[in-house]
């Protein structure tokens, strides 16, 4: 069980990194598409959504990465 906890720690680090990369990728893509469409309300909606989501979830994902790091280092061993 301790080995599984440790290995899973690596997964949480990867998951945290992947989530942050995914958020920036989607934000860039969706805001870009909105700008291309030229619709003001669409641009505002997209910017508003990512303006809320990215600053909130990025530090939380840093926390998930730290949790994974602790798990990897065996801090949650029984």
């Amino acid at each position: 069980m301790n080995a599984l906890k440790k290995t899973a720690g690596f997964i949480w680090i990867v998951l945290a990194l992947a989530t942050v990369i995914f958020m920036f990728y989607r934000a860039n893509l969706e805001i870009g598409l909105a700008v291309q469409s030229g619709k003001a309300d669409e641009i505002l909606n997209q910017r508003m959504f990512w303006f809320i989501v990215i600053p909130i979830f990025t530090p939380i994902m840093a926390g998930l990465g730290l949790f994974g790091w602790y798990a990897w280092k065996g801090e949650y061993r029984q």
């Binding site: 906890k5 508003m48 989501v53 730290l66």
Partner: protein, 512 residues
């Protein structure tokens, strides 16, 4: 010697402690929810759509209070609670919440004071979020520190019922006020009544709380000079405690938050907006489901004293992950109208607007064999300016048949039952994870990140996922169940983390 023994309050005294704490917390939840429950009316009064700045403030008022300010309130008041004590801190949060709510009921509308109106509402909403961030941790800690070892799950479960009952109370007060005053008066000024009523509720609660004594465990460490001098540093800068904060967040509260908000808020959004069920019917079925499910908070809280917090919370998450999609599919099937209607009535009106535009309204009533009644309004506008293309807006309202109403109530009940499984034992789980000297601070932050951010964002992200799903379906239509992937994925990750890392030991000894 275990401190739990010496701090056990007699059963009668303990029930008074629970009552005093629960009433205040319930009123705080009520105050917080009436804003959300009347967001459409509030938007009309304070945030006119034609003003983009007001629209921006509306979004901030809706989200900032729940997501940014709640964890911040947890830090501010958690620290205070660990420094000066539980009693005075959550008395302060109560006054802050009550004052802000009452003030919202007094603010003149946008039509009277212009941009000041949305700005004042935003500030008051932020104060509400701040107060809520400090309240829950204090109430849960206060009750747990009075409860005997081996029964903390049961006694703290009373505090857990308050969020759901606060939601119920807000729905009830709104429905009654609307019934008594009538819809047009309610929309004009009657919506202020539920906000103003709050001052009486807060007055009663402050009176009760002033008569309460300090938590015995906190009083003990204060007497011994063991109170933390810097709770924030001890909670989040020391690895031994920080790793437990992270475990609480990612292994329990994150999943609990999304299950809670899906069962109680996304279900409402789905029934009302996606399925088009009528306003009052939606609220009645929610009220019935909430009332029927609420006793299960106590059942699962008490059960967690016997078998541990972990299996019950994780079972609730797993059930949610496995059954959300079938449940929502079944809810959608209840409003299916591909049945032969028994009668069909269509009316039409045509009017010339002052702008010279022509408005044609067609209303279609369908009485279906299964008892469901559907009203479809189609508003077709032909603009005076010939170069502007005409516009058609369609809205649909569904009145469920009695059988479908009860089935819908059952499906909401099921979701709230999952809420009781994940939420009933979680206060006891959180308070047992941290030492007395930094308990208020340490448990409040993960709780409000899990509920405020992961949970509170559920309706927003799920609705957006549904909108975005049109890019993924072959026919370009939206997938109404696509939004469920957000709570499902979060709850699934939380389930795995909880399964691997959470201890299932009930802490009997509270000596730090």
């Amino acid at each position: 010697m275990p401190t739990s023994v010496e701090n056990t309050a007699p059963e009668r005294g303990l029930m008074q402690v629970i009552l005093a704490s629960s009433v205040g917390t319930l009123i705080e939840w009520y105050d917080f929810y009436i804003y959300g429950a009347m967001s459409v009316i509030i938007a009309g009064q304070f945030f006119p759509t034609e003003n983009p700045t007001a629209g921006f403030l509306a979004t901030l008022a809706t989200f900032a209070a729940g997501f940014i300010v709640r964890p911040f309130g947890a830090l501010v008041f958690g620290r205070l609670g660990d420094l000066i004590g539980r009693k005075y801190t959550f008395l302060l949060t109560l006054l802050l919440m009550g004052g802000s709510t009452f003030a919202i009921g007094l603010v003149p509308g946008y039509a009277s004071i212009g941009m000041w109106a949305p700005f004042i509402i935003l500030v008051l909403r932020l104060l509400q979020g701040l107060a809520l961030g400090g309240e829950y941790g204090g109430a849960a800690t206060y009750v747990a520190e009075h409860a005997p070892a081996g029964r903390r799950g049961y006694f703290t479960a009373y505090i857990q019922t308050t969020a759901t009952l606060g939601f119920f109370l807000s729905l009830g007060v709104i429905l009654i006020t609307r019934k008594v005053l009538g819809v047009s008066v309610f929309d004009e000024w009657g919506w202020r009544v539920p906000f103003l009523v709050s001052i009486f509720l807060i007055g009663i609660s402050v009176y009760i709380r002033l008569r309460m004594a300090e938590s015995p465990l906190f009083a003990k460490i204060k007497k011994e000079g063991k109170v933390s001098s810097n709770p924030l540093k001890e909670s989040f800068a020391k690895k031994d405690n920080l790793k437990m904060v992270l475990l609480a967040l990612f292994g329990a509260v994150m999943g609990q938050g999304v299950v809670w908000y899906t069962g109680q808020f996304y279900a409402q959004t789905f029934i009302e907006r996606t399925l088009g069920v009528e306003f009052e019917q939606t609220r009645y079925l929610l009220c019935i489901a909430i009332l029927a499910a609420t006793p299960f908070f106590l059942v699962f809280g008490a059960w967690s004293d016997k078998i541990g917090r972990k299996p019950i919370m994780l079972a609730g998450m797993l059930l949610a992950v496995l059954t959300y999609r079938p449940i929502y599919k079944a809810m959608q099937d209840l409003v299916a109208t591909d049945v032969t209607e028994t009668s069909r009535y269509e009316s039409s009106s045509k009017s010339m607007l002052s702008s010279g535009d022509i408005l044609i309204i067609k209303t279609l009533w369908e009485n279906n064999v299964n008892g469901t009644v559907v009203k479809t309004d189609s508003k077709h506008t032909i603009f005076a300016n010939a170069s502007t293309p005409s516009k058609t807006e369609t809205s649909r309202v569904v009145w469920l048949s009695p059988a479908a109403f009860w089935m819908m109530t059952f499906f909401v009940f099921l979701q709230i039952l999952y809420v009781t499984m994940v939420y009933g034992p979680i206060a006891a789980f959180l308070v047992e994870l941290f030492p007395t000297r930094i308990r208020y601070t340490s448990m409040s932050l993960p709780y409000h990140i899990g509920n405020g951010i992961f949970g509170g964002l559920t309706p927003y992200i799920a609705t957006r996922l549904v909108t975005e799903s049109k890019n993924l379906t072959p026919d370009g239509n939206t997938d109404p169940y696509f939004g469920l992937w957000y709570p499902i994925v979060i709850a699934a990750v939380c389930f795995v983390i909880g399964l691997l890392y959470l201890p299932n030991k009930i802490k009997e000894d509270w000596s730090d």
